[in-house]
Symmetry: C2
Subunit: 195 residues, 2 copies
């Protein structure tokens, strides 16, 4: 192998390891939000040293796992049609967002515990932007209220979605009811006409 | 001193120490949610051993501080008149609840970080019950929607209040706007007639 071919192979190896570690982190944290670096290394089939070579701390790895889950979620949200009636778009976004959240509750819990306050919401900038854009379009079309800023209305849905996850975890809310309950209060909170 | 007088004096000392430690915990955690047992002992003017004699772990002391703050808050909420129009009651409860939350954000943050998931919301059973009772009365009077359970509607306000605290902390919401924004979306979410 030439010097540069060796470099290319090493970089491919590193990418391969990163992918394995991230998949293992999502699996382990999904089972147990307190999963350790050792648990994740074992699941990935790599040594601890390899994990630390890519992620210098558990916090860094948990954040990377959260970013990975959000990127996958973003691909799903990108398929939701938001071009029609904003009220239907909101219902569809809530339905899809709820499914994604329900699948990633445990990774989210790990991230909330391991990352500095506010960091998890900052990482949600992508989904937040989708909601924000939809709210603004609904306001422009006159189907959502305009007496409150779009930013606050978008934040309302964020808080309700994450609050509903906590309610389900605490046994206070049946997950089967959640999307309908969320849509009902969010559409009303947005002052949706004809909802 | 007789044996029993000595016992009485010791118990009075212990009560006095507990009160000092709790006040110091609220002060220290209010300044810094990561305040240590040492910081709190120093603020209380007692030794570490005395703190540990009453609270075997930082988690136990943070929980006691949260309970103390909630009990003080409950005294304030008890003065809010909830006997008139439930819509006015809701606005008054949001206003008072917001003030209390804004004053105790840092203790709340410490509790969220130190206590097991769900514990902080469990400790809020008192304020939750006030909201729940108000929602049920509003439903019975026909001024709040009845197509969703009172429990979920009460939960909605809980999530929005705590979400707004996070928004303020992250610089996404002006605290001066918060009570009005919260009342506007909550009344709408509750389907309040004539709101």
């Amino acid at each position: 192998m030439t010097h540069s071919a060796l470099g290319t192979a090493r970089r491919a190896d590193a990418r391969h390891n990163v992918a394995r570690i991230l998949r293992a982190a999502v699996t382990c944290l999904g089972r147990d939000p307190a999963a350790s670096m050792n648990d994740i290394a074992r699941e990935a089939g790599v040594g601890r040293v390899t994990v630390y070579a890519h992620y210098p701390s558990r916090e860094a790895l948990v954040e990377a796992a959260m970013v990975h889950v959000l990127a996958e979620g973003d691909e799903v949200l990108a398929t939701v049609d938001l071009t029609g009636d904003p009220r239907d778009g909101l219902r569809a976004l809530i339905e899809a967002g709820w499914m994604l959240l329900a699948q990633s509750t445990s990774v989210l819990e790990a991230a909330l515990a391991a990352l500095p306050p506010g960091r998890v919401q900052d990482l949600h900038a992508g989904p937040e932007q989708r909601i924000h854009d939809l709210v603004r379009r609904g306001q422009a079309l006159g189907v959502f209220r305009t007496d409150l800023p779009a930013r606050w209305l978008a934040s309302v849905l964020h808080h309700l979605l994450h609050g509903a996850v906590a309610d389900v975890a605490a046994g206070r809310l049946d997950p089967a009811d959640a999307p309908r309950y969320l849509s009902a209060v969010t559409l009303a909170a947005y002052g949706a006409t004809g909802a």
